[in-house]
Symmetry: none
Subunit: 226 residues, 2 copies
DNA sequence: CACAGTTGTGAACATCTTTTCACAATCGAA
DNA sequence: TTCGATTGTGAAAAGATGTTCACAACTGTG
């Protein structure tokens, strides 16, 4: 899943870019002002940040400088109505990776998005490993182990396990799981979540002396040591 | 359960926003004037406060400033008929997190609501812990302890305990409890509340040298040290 | 297009929580 | 002190929630 952060306050532009990107299988988060963009960019691992220069709260250039100063190296694509060479230079100086003047052709936009993401993929191959107790989950190789022993998880099981690990020691409600793993608002209609938790328990907890996945009746589930 | 406080005096707007939000699984409390909004905002933990700027009693900007001064960091979405950039800036200065000009499209409204709630979820990673005397209640892990000793509470018991902690040293009437925990106006028909207070006392006070939950005959209950 | 693996559904069952009810204890005003 | 009103307690019924299993639907691969 490739995540893109779009920082833009004009609803029309948001709507068309978001839709277009989603049709191309990107996952898009939208921030409507500079501050929110900053928050999101700091807390989530995006593959690309697209920001308008003129946004409420903080302008795109400042935002860009700020993020770079914070050590965030995610590629940044700037959008703006200004298009003189000088304006572009200011943008690049602020740390942007590319610069696109409005109005633009969606095809060109998409091409640049792809280019930026491809470039960063080649540069960045970090091995991300999430851990809890003796459980390890490698995000790049998708290998899960418990006390060194390999556990085979399916794609959905892996997603769910990853979510548990990212929220360790916190009670996670089913609504939350439904939204984040299945991307539905509903969750009440079937017992899918229970079934999957059950799958995970069989693979991750069964046969081990201490259980990690606990149910909090009426509240949700929690990953914690006994 | 995600709780939203809506401060708005115009019945039509209230009706449509409340309904729309509820269809999207939010729980909505409505305040019809600034004062009532203030009271509710201070007493209950909302995930989001939506306020019109023009409301009886106190205007939305003052309310916003007041809440921020009180240390309440709940995201605030302002609604208004005014829409110039200056108006927006005034709103942001007062401490609002977003600003929406009427008339607006419900979809956009909903998008912003979601965005604000999501953002605040991400911003507050720190473990939220409520304390009173040697009693601690962790909102994220749902763990309750008294002088370090773990106490297991059911979902309802936890809700009630949380309510006590949020209103410590204040007398809480049964009507209040009924409304906030059971979401009914009634309360007279059964002794549910007494039963639950009894459960809490057994788990939280029994066996400890000092009692925290006290009965105020004819008035309600209060959390205080002896 | 058949197959194996994965994902989703429904139903039966188990478990835990919430509510109700009958009655006991306590309170405060007369 | 007495009496009605209010609050507390224990047990059991009613209800909600969680677990497990068998199987159906779907997916991608050869």
């Amino acid at each position: 899943m490739i995540k893109i952060l779009l920082i833009e306050d004009e609803p029309k532009t948001v709507q068309s870019l978001k839709q277009g990107l989603e049709e191309n299988h990107y996952t898009v988060d939208v921030a409507y002002d500079g501050n929110m963009g900053k928050q999101l960019a700091m807390r989530t691992a995006y593959q690309l940040i697209i920001t308008d220069i003129i946004i409420p709260g903080m302008n795109g250039l400042e935002l860009c400088k700020y993020l770079r100063a914070e050590g965030i190296q995610t590629p940044i694509l700037m959008l703006t109505a200004l298009s003189t060479t000088d304006d572009k230079l200011v943008g690049f100086e602020a740390g942007a990776d590319d610069y696109l003047a409005k109005p633009f052709d969606f095809k060109e936009f998409l091409a640049r998005v792809k280019a930026l993401i491809k470039r960063s993929n080649q540069t960045f191959i970090e091995a991300q490993v999430l851990k809890f107790a003796d459980l390890e989950l490698d995000l790049t190789s998708k290998i899960v182990t418990r006390s060194g022993q390999k556990i085979n998880l399916t794609a959905k099981e892996f997603q769910l396990m990853e979510y548990f690990l990212r929220n360790q020691e916190k009670v996670i409600s089913k609504a939350e799981i439904a939204e984040n793993i299945w991307e539905v608002e509903d969750e009440g209609s079937s017992n899918l979540i229970e079934v999957y938790v059950n799958y995970l328990r069989k693979k991750v907890d069964k046969g081990f002396p201490s259980k990690l996945i606990h149910t909090q009746f009426g509240m949700g589930y929690i990953l914690r040591q006994e």
